[in-house]
């Protein structure tokens, strides 16, 4: 059985800074990594494989730079990797990405489970999973905080706003996970060394019959909101600092509410 895990390469958000004059995000030189929650999806895939057998296949769509990210996924326990590479796939909209991922998965072979994160680190739209499910005409279980599989049946707990919902479905099935599902492992050095030797398959969108049309989603602007903070740091010892803070809040009329 194949367990596919979709992992997206994104900039490490913790290292994104904002250019003060223009309020634009500075992305040059920011290291690339696997999306936070995608690591949870991968961990869950590896955990399931260890129980059920089969293979974990990492799947990613993006630019030429994808190699490093895929290596990270292989080091974390994926057995094989599929990359769909084209410059236009970098930051492409959900419908294009979903089509590329779905077609690559379909071409690779039998589907047991397709795992994704609930949202990607940079876009966090939660659209790629449902779109893949629709393209491949599969059932989907979203926002999963606990997952079990036995035979062909998947049992999952979904973490929704108002409840935890326990559901069952038959494979093949698409599952998106939330971060509390597990603690992703940090790969050991031996695993990192092995990762380079694991099988990798590269496709172009054309090889998958995926047409990259012009984008339907237009980003008109993308700026940090205006922030004008005083940034006053009290450092006179706790007793004095608390007094200074209370005086400051008092003068702003924030106390006695």
């Amino acid at each position: 059985m194949n367990i596919y895990v979709c992992v997206k390469q994104t900039v490490d958000l913790q290292q994104v800074r904002i250019r003060k004059e223009t309020r634009e995000p500075v992305l040059d030189g920011v290291p690339l990594t696997i999306g936070n929650i995608d690591k949870n999806a991968l961990e869950e895939g590896v955990r399931l494989r260890d129980k059920l057998g089969g293979k974990v296949i990492g799947v990613s769509a993006g630019s030429e730079e994808l190699n490093d990210t895929i290596k990270e996924a292989l080091a974390m326990g994926a057995d094989e990797a599929i990359m769909i590479i084209a410059p236009e796939l970098e930051g492409a909209e959900s419908s294009t990405v979903a089509m590329a991922l779905a077609k690559a998965i379909e071409k690779t072979g039998e589907i047991g489970i397709i795992l994704l994160g609930e949202g990607s680190s940079d876009n966090y739209s939660g659209q790629v999973g449902p779109r893949i499910a629709e393209i491949l005409d599969l059932p989907q279980i979203t926002y999963v905080s606990s997952l079990e599989a036995e035979g062909n049946t998947v049992k999952a707990v979904r973490n929704l706003e108002d409840c935890f919902e326990t559901v069952e479905a038959e494979m093949p099935v698409v599952v998106s996970v939330v971060s509390e599902i597990n603690e992703p492992r940090i790969p050991a050095v031996t695993q990192i060394l092995k990762a380079g030797r694991k099988p990798k398959q590269i496709y172009s969108p054309a090889e998958l019959g995926v047409e990259i049309a012009g984008s339907q989603i237009k980003t008109i602007s993308n700026l940090a909101p205006e922030q004008d903070r005083k940034r006053l740091l009290f450092q006179e010892g706790v007793g004095q600092d608390v007094k200074s803070l209370v005086a400051a809040l008092e003068s702003e009329g924030l106390l006695g509410r």
Partner: protein
């Protein structure tokens, strides 16, 4: 006439969306329609000024399941001649948006905050890069499927109904997901979005027992206790309704106090509209100090009781 079709699996969210839908409808010259599927309250939509409410009573709609509701909405949208479909950006709603948009082969945007009309299309503000930036995005062609954040709008006041109900006959494939059990979450009624003062705690807190001290500070300030995500999802010391940030609540308090919080964007996006921000952190290089008006470099276990005492003073 082309229409704006409103749907959410939660009526109170759908009612809020009507406020936004009415504004868009006026600017675009479109009528506002709603889909009241399954057990939804058709009269509630009528009394809030909706001109056509589409209902369907199919057995498959009794429980919400995204793939089934996507089929239903595609059919309703055709009937209503919908140019815009507004959904609630809840977890269920986001899944529905993706399914529906893919079915109709159109673009979708989720977690939309402010909506504006530019050149006859809807432009949505939504957080990007984990909340570090706000992107203005638009769907260039075709039907626009937009999932709007539940807190973005206000429900119109109930009035004399003037619209009509249209029952539609839907053809639906049943769900392939079987619901086995539902465990409701304890309903925490704290209104984080509306609070004037928020006392937010993060992983600087060493144990659950210390929440008492944080509570006392919140009381002294007349505010509510909120938290970062790991405190609720990993530690489970506070209910998830108290999470502030990208995947939690977005507040707009006059005062936000951040205790033992590093200040990663996914959190700060939830308090960046606060009037005044105060941070307490042992690490003087913590990013939260960049965002704060007033900062105390120190141990929250010392600062919090002293601050509470001084306020009670």
């Amino acid at each position: 006439m082309a229409a704006i079709l409103v749907f959410s699996e939660r009526d109170e969210v759908a009612f809020q969306l009507l406020g936004e839908a009415n504004k868009l409808g006026e600017q675009l010259g479109m009528e506002v329609a709603a889909a009241a599927l399954g057990l939804s309250d058709a009269d509630g939509f009528l009394s809030r000024g909706v001109s056509t409410v589409y209902t369907a009573k199919n057995e498959e709609l009794k429980d919400f399941e995204a793939s089934v509701y996507a089929q239903a909405l595609e059919q309703v949208a055709k009937q209503a001649d919908a140019a815009i479909i507004l959904l609630g950006s809840t977890r269920r709603g986001k899944e529905l948006a993706g399914r529906l948009a893919q079915k109709m082969k159109v673009g979708s945007l989720t977690d939309a905050g402010r909506l504006e009309v530019i050149d006859g299309r809807v432009v949505c503000s939504r957080n990007a890069f984990g909340g570090a930036t706000v992107a203005a995005q638009t769907i260039l062609e075709g039907i626009q499927v937009i999932a709007v954040s539940p807190s973005a709008g206000e429900a119109p006041a109930a009035a004399e109904p003037s619209g009509s109900v249209a029952e539609v006959a839907l053809v639906l494939e049943p769900a392939r997901i079987k619901k086995v059990a539902t465990a409701p979450k304890s309903q925490d009624s704290a209104n984080i979005e509306g609070a004037e003062v928020l006392v937010c705690v993060g992983k600087g807190l060493a144990g659950e027992a210390e929440l008492k001290m944080v509570d006392e500070l919140a009381q002294a300030l007349g505010g509510l206790v909120a938290c970062t995500k790991p405190l609720a999802t990993d530690e489970k010391w506070l209910p998830e309704e108290r999470i502030v940030g990208l995947s939690g609540k977005i507040g707009k308090p006059a005062l936000a106090i951040c205790l033992g919080i590093s200040g990663q964007v996914q959190f700060t996006v939830g308090i960046r509209d606060a009037g005044t921000i105060v941070a307490v952190n042992t690490d003087q290089n913590a990013f939260i100090f960049q965002m704060a008006d007033y900062g105390i470099v120190g141990d929250l276990h010392q600062v919090v009781p002293e601050l509470t005492a001084a306020l009670k003073g």
